[in-house]
């Protein structure tokens, strides 16, 4: 109950503020919140949810999970071997700095322009960086005594990886994974600016270009709600897998 009110308190306050401040707005691009709320059910009916939102979410899920697996795998390798890190890092940083709008056409050259592949790769490529970087740092900062313990008991490579390295790095992997989640949502939109005819992102951009501003706002709000929902889901998983970490850090006092 307390947690619920804490979670809802500020949003309700902000929404109230937005409602009040936009009430009499005549600005075309800042319509009253009331107008937006009215437009919401008309805009997101069964058809767009089925043909825009769900496929987008499916692509997001595939891209995100790909990034998670690839980021953790590559991050563990790069974090464990200094030579590999020295070899890869500049090249990775190079690609990391390239904006998706110019990178996507290159991806499309290989992965095709219209199918899911290019979009999924775009999402995965965006999500992978926070996961990769955090995994690398997490792997590097696993306690030395723990590593020595694993070595002295001659745990196999796999066991060390599974029970020591990945678990030790898991708090940081979670940091990266959480960060990647919202980036994934963003890239879900960006990827649909390209070679898409349907999708949540494509819909928002078409509203924007068609000057259907209240509808565009409903799309943005929908994105935010998806973000909240995904983050709640994430928290659930994190809560279970990182219970030891919260105990260790005596974080149970926190909500």
């Amino acid at each position: 109950m307390k947690r619920l009110s804490a979670a809802l308190g500020l949003p309700i306050l902000l929404i109230g503020l937005w409602w009040a401040m936009s009430a009499g707005s005549t600005s075309f691009f800042w319509p009253p919140l009331e107008t937006i709320v009215r437009a919401f059910p008309e805009t997101w009916t069964a058809d767009p949810i089925l043909h825009d939102v769900l496929p987008s979410l499916a692509r997001l899920a595939v891209g995100y999970l790909t990034a998670l697996v690839a980021g953790v795998a590559a991050g563990t390798a790069i974090g464990s071997f200094r030579t590999l890190r020295a070899l890869c890092e500049p090249a990775l940083e190079f690609f990391r700095a390239i904006p998706p709008p110019v990178l996507i056409p290159v991806i499309a050259l290989f992965a095709g322009y219209t199918g899911w592949t290019a979009k999924v790769i775009t999402i995965a490529l965006g999500c992978v960086w926070p996961i990769l970087l955090n995994t690398v740092e997490g792997v590097r900062s696993v306690d030395e005594v723990l590593r020595d313990t694993a070595r002295s008991y001659r745990l196999s490579r796999r066991a060390t990886l599974q029970h020591v390295v990945l678990r030790g790095a898991s708090p940081r992997i979670a940091t990266g994974a959480r960060q990647a989640l919202s980036i994934g949502v963003i890239l879900m939109v960006i990827s649909e600016l390209f070679g898409a005819d349907r999708g949540l992102g494509a819909a928002i951009v078409q509203f924007q270009r068609g000057f259907a501003i209240p509808q565009m706002w409903t799309g943005i709000i929908l994105l935010g709600l998806i973000g909240v929902a995904l983050s709640a889901l994430f928290r659930l998983v994190e809560h279970r897998t990182l219970a030891w970490y919260r105990g260790l850090r005596q974080a149970e006092r926190e909500v």
Partner: protein, 261 residues
Amino acid sequence: MSATSKLDGPARFLGLAGLSLVVGVAEALPRLDVVDRRFLPPFSSMAVALGRQLALGDFWIALGQTLRGWALGLAVAMLAGVVFGVVIGSVPFLRAVTASTIEFLRPIPSVALIPLVVLIYGSQLQSALVLVVYAAFWQVLVQVLYGVADVDPVVRDTARSYRFSRWTVVRTVVWPTALPYVVTGFRLAAAVALILEITAELIIGVPGLGRSIGVAQSSGAVAETYALVIVVGIIGVLVNASARAVERRALRWHTSIRRDL
């Protein structure tokens, strides 16, 4: 120490080797007709186009504009991200209250905000700045929030038992603990800021490299486009190298660094 310098040479060499590999692949793929060279020219043509660019005054002006916008936005985002992160992270009540709002705001893509910033600022520097700050801020904030939560309880108790003031705790306990996360946040934010700066220039037409890319794109000048993109990538590499250098100094004490020696 000697160990560091012993490593630095090979590390740099290896890094260059890695980049050369990328260059090699970029040269080979079009030449071997794996991709159509009309759409992805071999690296050598990009390099030639880049050479032509470097001779132009306009290029350097655009580069300067991009770097200025990027650095400014990044600085603001870092400052705001660290301050908000430390404050929100240190006060459990604030953390609980803001969590849902943060999660709502984070996934809103900066590109969706473009019409709004244009409405307010047009294609001025500020438009890009708003987008850069908005996108980069979250990168730092999330890292700092997790970093602040990483404080060792024994360390925290030590600080409490000696009755350190709030400010001292932040300075001597929270900040050093969160620092590795801040560095990661910086590395993430630096790239995101660069991406948004370029994207804003590209789409809104804020002066800078991105606008040059946009012009090259809409002129069908493929090699020029990639030449400019390479410049962007190189900025990314340099930023990371400097972040690593800072990290080696500031985090000498950290497990990840001291083990490396």
